[in-house]
Symmetry: C2
């Protein structure tokens, strides 16, 4: 296995290639690589038994490939946790570092690191860390936009976008923070939230889509 192949495998998994057939185009875009390169690589991965590839139709992970992908993502997440918890990194700076480190991580090292970090279950952005025992890894898909006015929820996951992460740090908004939807401005204007029942913050519609939540209890205000 090479770092390059690993990147393809991880991406295919993240595009849900465990259950769906992923078209080449998306892979080419995400990896910033030509379509020709993708074709070539997918043939190789399939020869390795990592994917099944139907030319012109798309690629899908085999069980072996999915396991591999989960292991890679796990290593990535573990390094992210390490960087934040021990090296004082901001959650907006960890992705690139982890991207490099994950390829240099042996099974033994991954195991030792996991133990050292006390078996974390989520990464600093709130994603569930894949585990061997095959826990489903179902992430919530609701964002703050799915709340009614007055309803509360807990921030559970944020998509990795440096600017957003930095802004959230600035206004002290992170995983686990309780927010209440106060108002949605019309014409795609910003959303107003109350954080921890206290201060209010405003977030753009575009950013809100990247912030996933977990409902706490039915606090829909029904006057």
């Amino acid at each position: 296995m090479t770092p390059n192949k690993e990147d393809y495998i991880k991406l295919i998994f993240e595009l849900e290639g465990e259950t769906k057939q992923i078209p080449n185009k998306i892979i080419a875009e995400q990896l910033a690589v030509s379509a020709a390169s993708v074709s070539e690589m997918l043939v190789k991965l399939s020869k390795d038994g990592i994917t099944t590839y139907v030319p012109y139709k798309g690629v899908q992970l085999t069980p072996k490939g999915a396991t591999l992908a989960k292991n890679l993502i796990k290593r990535h997440c573990l390094w992210e946790v390490f960087l934040v918890e021990h090296l004082n990194y901001s959650w907006s700076d960890i992705h690139e570092e982890a991207e490099l480190l994950e390829h240099a991580t042996s099974d033994k090292l991954a195991a030792a690191l996991e133990k050292y970090l006390n078996y974390p279950t989520i990464c600093p952005h709130g994603s569930i860390i894949p585990s061997e025992n095959g826990v489903p890894r179902i992430q919530g898909t609701e964002t703050i936009l799915d709340l009614e006015i007055g309803e509360s929820a807990e921030i559970s996951r944020v998509l990795e976008e440096k600017e957003l992460l930095d802004y959230m740090t600035e206004i002290d908004l992170g995983i686990g923070r309780k927010v209440k939807l106060i108002a949605k401005a019309s014409y795609g204007g910003p959303i107003t939230l109350a954080v921890e029942e206290k201060r209010e913050v405003q977030i753009s519609l575009k950013a809100i889509e990247k912030i996933y939540i977990k409902r706490i209890r039915s606090e829909v205000v029904t006057e």
Copy 2:
């Protein structure tokens, strides 16, 4: 810079290429690569301004190359310290892991790691960690063989040889341990040492050559 080039640079430095002209043959041997590959690479490194290469004569690091090498070795050492101090690795298992990690370590990460480890000055095998401020990095060159019978010293550095390191762990001999030379068996037989004035251990001549020491005080027994 690529991981491959980095390996060449580090090796040349370790062969004292900062001050001497290193012949290709040694590099080929140590990297387990053909002489032809070495020739090719040395030309490339010289084009990069990292080495000066005189065909048929050998290669030498430029100041730029030496700085680069020291940075790489520093990253290597920092990871070794991390593995031993935080992940409970044995000092005999850290070299290969660090070898991989060092190539995946950004300047920022190296700095954060160094701070986290509290600015260590030696690696787990006792080698001095290169520092920016250009501390000379002169390692002692005396081994236990240079002691007189009855003389004491402190173990300061051990060359990385898995079997030796494991044996030393087994007999609880490590960096900083005080040893006294008790006896040298004739005909290349084993050496007997007293550890911390207490228990005695025996070490083969071959192994002794890899254990460097720092004399404590003039304790030569002059009866």
